[in-house]
């Protein structure tokens, strides 16, 4: 079992996300993370998927995705140099005084931004690779995480390489 990051360029049409996710559940593939948004090309979106499976399973996933008419291109970024990022918004209990100071200190170390402060809470925004967010979450947990929002992962290849070449 290996983790794969797939970049899927799709036509921006109604139902396309449901086609993609339906395919995963129907064929018994697991999605670990999913993020969708418009791409640089008008009328298209990028879906970044993180899936777990052995090589044959992942090959099947890619082939089945390619069969969808609304899928323009599927790229497996796993073997390439790439940057992966995820965004998290974390609301933490932080009473004024020592507790708040502790939270702020951890935030500084992780270069997390404070985006909201309430009488008893602080909300942090942090971007980074998933391990960094896991680590921050771990450190904040003793303070009391009230709410945690994580986006799916997105990924981009390093250097000049792109994943937009024609299918």
């Amino acid at each position: 079992m290996k983790r794969h990051t797939l970049s899927v360029l799709v036509e921006n049409r109604a139902g396309v996300l449901s086609r993609v996710t339906g395919l995963f559940s129907r064929r018994g593939f697991n999605i670990e993370s999913l993020a969708v948004g418009p791409s640089e090309m008008e009328g298209t979106s990028r879906i970044t998927l993180v899936v777990c499976g052995d090589d044959r399973e992942v090959e099947q996933v890619i082939k089945q995705l390619n069969k969808l008419i609304d899928v323009i291109k599927v790229s497996d970024l796993t073997e390439f140099e790439r940057v992966e990022r995820e965004l998290a918004l974390i609301k933490v209990a932080a009473e004024p005084g020592e507790p708040r100071a502790g939270v702020m200190q951890i935030a500084t170390i992780f270069r997390a931004q404070v985006i909201d402060v309430g009488p008893k809470t602080v909300t942090l925004q942090v971007a980074g690779d998933p391990e960094k967010i896991d680590a921050l979450e771990g450190l904040l947990r003793p303070s009391g995480i009230k709410e945690l929002y994580r986006t799916g992962r997105i990924a981009v290849l390093r250097g000049q390489k792109t994943v937009r070449s024609e299918k």
Partner: protein
């Protein structure tokens, strides 16, 4: 001047070459039916929407063209689903049109609303929910293009009522060609892969061709036969591949797999090169996959890359249209290897392990199928239902042409045969269309006797009537200690039912009456039913038990 979405829809179908559609009216498709009222497009009114889908599917299989069916929203659309799924599993080009509640009511649980777009996503090659009448010309063109090209399959178009009634300028432009950036099927095989395959073929001592429905779909029967002859390689076909090579060709081993011939299954187990052509290593073919063709290198030719390596690791994958790729191979293949000794072995198995037709004076189904085969001599179209009747037909009928055999393979849909036979009659007017049915399957869509009588559709029905759900009973006999749990069906007078609908028929309970009854059916100028009371507990043999290797057959001398 303006026209309506419904008019543009029908105009679009006619432009695609559609001559006949199968359908059932209802509330939200009234605007479409109003256009059909005086359209040159022929519409056949079925008695249940499922039959419309199967009839369109049978039409597609018999003609090679796209079949079209039409149903209203909600229950009508849902009733198409089994037929769409049947076509999907067997890669049959179909365009299914469904009415939908007006766009303003979508998602409101309106009367007869169902999310057929969502429901059919897993069983269509692609589907559309049209929101604007102006999109119709493009959507129709895309739907037919997607259904018919690449690996064919069903495409559904959901049409809200206000799209059908929507106004369009009457000089609507229909696109001449379709190009989709997310859909570009590979037709030509990669030259380097072709070379590798040819190298293996030249070196093989015991080559075997395993041909599937892709041969029929791409019209590659001549190329398949040429390759077999050039290589001196025997050919076994799947259920879907029957007719891809003449049944009486000396290199043809018939069907392989669960109810394949013993000699085909032995050949698979012993071959050193397996050339899979438009086939998908389905579990009913392979048995236990680890022991399927254990000594063989595998060449796999298929237009769908996802089929290659899905079930069985492959040495030389070739993605492309079967007809095209076989042509490429034939261009490069110098001559065949020496296979005389291999063919001797295979023909030895053929001689010692033939398919058995019991001859004891009783009425056996195998004999009925053989009598039909001898009478038709490979002409016309044979359609089957699903179950024992289907397997006996596949084993004992000698198919001589592609598209002469129509059956639900992948989904195994009981009730498929009768409506599919109707579709075949419209696709091949003037030809004999025989349905080989079981009494269980026939009762699943028997209401279509109404459609057949109404339109005098010349379907000849031969019921292999054993008063059982025979295939399930066979499994109960063999694997559940003859505990016949809910598989016995009380006797039905099919001739009586037929007559009530206005169709003639005859009951046969004596082997001597079989041939005369079949001839009577053939000589009718309309539909006819032959109700044959066969031996009730006849089994389909050989049989590979579920999960066994395909050379481990029961009902077969070792």
């Amino acid at each position: 001047m303006t026209t309506t979405g419904a008019s543009v829809l029908i105009e679009g179908l006619l432009r695609q070459g559609t001559k006949t559609i199968f359908g059932y009216p209802g509330g939200v498709v009234l605007p479409i039916y109003d256009v059909l009222y005086d359209s040159p497009l022929e519409h056949i009114l079925v008695r249940h929407e499922q039959a419309a889908a199967h009839a369109a599917d049978g039409y597609a299989r018999a003609s090679g063209k796209v079949g079209v069916c039409l149903a209203t929203s909600g229950p009508g659309a849902c009733n198409l689903v089994t037929g769409i799924a049947t076509a999907y599993m067997d890669s049959i080009p179909l365009v299914a049109l469904t009415g939908q509640v007006p766009t303003g009511l979508l998602g409101n649980d309106a009367f007869q609303e169902s999310d057929i777009h969502g429901i059919t996503m897993p069983v269509t090659k692609h589907n559309y929910l049209v929101k604007r009448a102006a999109d119709l010309p493009q959507v129709i063109a895309e739907a037919f293009y997607i259904a018919a090209t690449g690996r064919p399959g069903p495409v559904l178009i959901d049409l809200p009522k206000d799209v059908s009634t929507g106004e369009l300028p009457d000089d609507v432009v229909f696109p001449e060609a379709v190009s989709l950036r997310g859909y570009q099927p590979t037709i030509r095989g990669h030259p380097r892969q072709i070379e590798k395959a040819v190298d293996l073929m030249v070196q093989a001592g015991r080559p075997l061709i395993y041909a599937g429905g892709g041969v029929i779909l791409s019209g590659a029967d001549a190329e398949l036969t040429a390759l077999a002859e050039r290589l001196g390689a025997p050919v076994t076909t799947t259920l879907m591949g029957l007719g891809g090579i003449r049944g009486d060709h000396p290199l043809n081993l018939g069907m392989l797999g669960m109810h394949g011939t013993a000699y085909a299954n032995y050949a698979v187990t012993e071959c050193d090169l397996l050339i899979a052509v438009g086939a998908r290593f389905d579990d009913r073919v392979t048995g236990r996959i680890e022991t399927f063709a254990p000594h063989a290198q595998v060449v796999h030719i298929d237009i769908d890359p996802a089929e290659i390596g899905k079930n069985k690791p492959v040495d030389v994958p070739i993605v492309g249209d079967v007809k095209h790729v076989l042509g490429q191979i034939l261009q490069r293949l110098p001559g065949g290897p020496k296979t005389e000794r291999w063919l001797e072995r295979v023909n030895g198995w053929r001689a010692t392990h033939p398919l058995v037709v019991p001859e004891n004076g009783l009425l056996h189904p195998q004999g009925v199928v053989r009598a039909l085969s001898e009478m038709l001599r490979g002409e016309g179209v044979v359609v089957s239902e699903v179950g024992q009747n289907q397997m006996w037909a596949a084993q004992h009928f000698c198919f001589k042409k592609p598209r002469s055999w129509i059956t639900s393979g992948g989904l195994g849909t009981m009730g498929y045969g009768l409506p599919a036979a109707m579709g075949a009659c419209y696709a091949r007017p003037g030809e004999q269309v025989f349905l080989i049915a079981g009494d269980g399957s026939l009762q699943m869509n028997i209401q279509e006797f109404g459609t057949i009588a109404h339109n005098r559709i010349p379907v000849r029905v031969v019921v292999l009537n054993n008063g059982f759900l025979g295939m399930v009973r066979q499994w109960q006999e063999l694997f559940f200690e003859r505990r016949y749990s809910y598989t016995e069906l009380p006797a039905v007078d099919f001739v009586g039912i037929a007559k009530a609908y206005g169709i003639d028929g005859v009951l046969v309970d004596d082997p001597a009456e079989v041939r005369p009854a079949l001839e009577a059916a053939r000589d009718q100028d309309g539909p006819f039913v032959v109700d044959v009371r066969i031996e009730r507990e006849e089994n389909v043999f050989p049989m590979v038990p579920a999960g066994a290797a395909i050379n481990e057959m029961i009902g077969e001398r070792r």
